[in-house]
């Protein structure tokens, strides 16, 4: 069962570290960790989420954009986006930085 959504994560900004790059392919987004040399695949929706996370000032703002773009309920998107952020952070592919500049 997924952990409860941490509101501090939603309020924070998601940053893609300098050692991580991603490119779009027809069926997936490929994320490359330049430090480890490992490729990771994201489905198209997760790939779009990553694009919007990179451009948004907060995870919450990205969730609002995605909910609007996909016509989905914001609460559902918050959950999905939160889970994605946690997974990417665990793999070293994303940093979640709070307003005070500290990693969350």
């Amino acid at each position: 069962m997924s952990e409860a959504v941490d509101a501090s994560v939603l309020a924070a900004q998601a940053r893609i570290p300098a050692h991580v790059v991603f490119r779009s392919f027809p069926r997936e987004t490929v994320v490359l960790n330049l430090d480890t040399g490992k490729y990771h695949g994201l489905n198209p929706t997760a790939g779009r989420m990553l694009e919007l996370l990179e451009k948004s000032e907060s995870v919450e703002a990205a969730a609002v954009s995605i909910a609007d773009e996909y016509g989905q309920e914001l609460d559902v998107i918050r959950r999905d986006l939160y889970d994605l952020c946690v997974q990417l952070r665990e793999r070293g592919l994303l940093e979640i930085v709070s307003n005070d500049g500290n990693a969350t």
């Binding site: 050692h19 790059v21 490119r23 779009s24 392919f25 027809p26 069926r27 997936e28 490929v30 490359l32 330049l34 430090d35 040399g37 490729y39 695949g41």
Partner: protein
């Protein structure tokens, strides 16, 4: 094609390097012609590499005893290595194979200290063509796919497959349909503006002798000079003139359960990503270049899966590819 090696310590005079050629998007300067590499002034090349003949002792002295890392090795069944590629920071890459010599590629890929064996054959050049020059090209930012390719009506068509599946044989048979050989086994790609450009490789193909004997007149004419047999037949041929825009990629595989040829769009990114010719160059700059090239290919170039019955003759497969190409690329 005799290798004339200087005595240890003597440095070849670069003004005496009379020969220039082009392959893998490189302008190549060397003391002698290289088998299968067209003589060329290098126009259109992306990078440049200079080969100098030196002695074994010179290569060893240049290499020294560094803190090196083995990037790649192939072994005989008894565990004896028959090909090694090692890297030492700030020195470069050492490539070695018994009977083929030892070579030190500089870190930037622009210089090669070459110590081929002292014999009169050409056989040692296989290592230069198959490993040394591709490493030099990769170090200079050229992405290399493990693929063969032909040029058809001004476009490059790449064929990639696991070893032994028949990509060289397919490429050879496409010559009977008006195509020209662009590359065998190593395809150099360049991102040029909005296009992906495929550069000519080496005009040396390693084909199955029985399949070579069945080629039609045009293909036999274009792959005319037999150089000798190893595991297969080495044939020297004519290359397509110059780089061509990459117009299609086929992933070829054989399937014993298929009764007929199946050609369908291929969208699995990992097949492209897994087709690097030098995957052991694992530094971030090479991986990023490869990712960028593959992403651009996936975005712009039609990619197909070509699943052929095991028994499908290569001439039929080639005809099918050309027919498919008329509507697909």
């Amino acid at each position: 094609m005799t290798a004339t090696r200087p005595e240890s310590g003597a440095r070849p005079d670069r003004a005496q390097s009379p020969w220039r050629g082009r392959a893998f998007a490189l302008e190549i300067e060397a003391p002698q012609p290289l088998v299968g590499v067209p003589e060329h002034d290098g126009a259109g090349a992306v990078g440049i590499v200079r080969l100098d003949f030196v002695s074994d002792a010179d290569v060893d002295a240049l290499w020294g005893t560094p803190n090196s890392r083995r990037l790649f090795a192939r072994h005989f069944s008894d565990g004896t290595p028959y090909l090694t590629v090692d890297r030492a920071e700030s020195i470069g890459f050492r490539v070695w194979a018994p009977g083929h010599g030892r070579y030190l590629v500089s870190e930037d890929g622009r210089d090669v200290a070459a110590a081929p064996p002292n014999d009169s054959g050409w056989w040692w050049q296989r290592l230069v063509l198959a490993q040394v020059l591709p490493i030099a090209a990769s170090l200079q930012g050229i992405d290399l796919l493990h693929a063969s390719a032909v040029a058809v009506a001004g476009k490059a068509v790449a064929i990639t497959a696991e070893a032994g599946t028949g990509k060289t044989t397919l490429a050879a048979n496409l010559l009977d349909h008006g195509a020209d050989l662009l590359a065998d086994d190593v395809l150099a790609l360049e991102l040029a503006g909005t296009e992906i450009v495929a550069h000519p490789g080496v005009a040396l193909a390693n084909v199955d002798p029985a399949q070579h004997a069945k080629l039609g007149a045009r293909a036999r004419e274009r792959l005319a000079t037999e150089l000798g047999e190893g595991d297969k037949l080495y044939v020297l041929g004519e290359l397509a003139d110059g780089p061509h825009r990459l117009a299609a990629v086929y992933f070829l595989r054989r399937d014993g359960t298929e009764a007929k040829l199946v050609v369908e769009p291929e969208a699995d990114a990992r097949k492209l990503l897994g087709s690097s010719f030098v995957p052991y160059l694992d530094g971030p700059e090479y991986q990023l270049k490869h990712l960028d090239v593959c992403s651009r290919i996936a975005e712009q170039v039609p990619i197909f899966s070509l699943t052929a019955p095991v028994a499908m003759p290569p001439e039929e497969l080639a005809a099918a590819v050309m027919a498919h190409g008329e509507r697909a690329w």
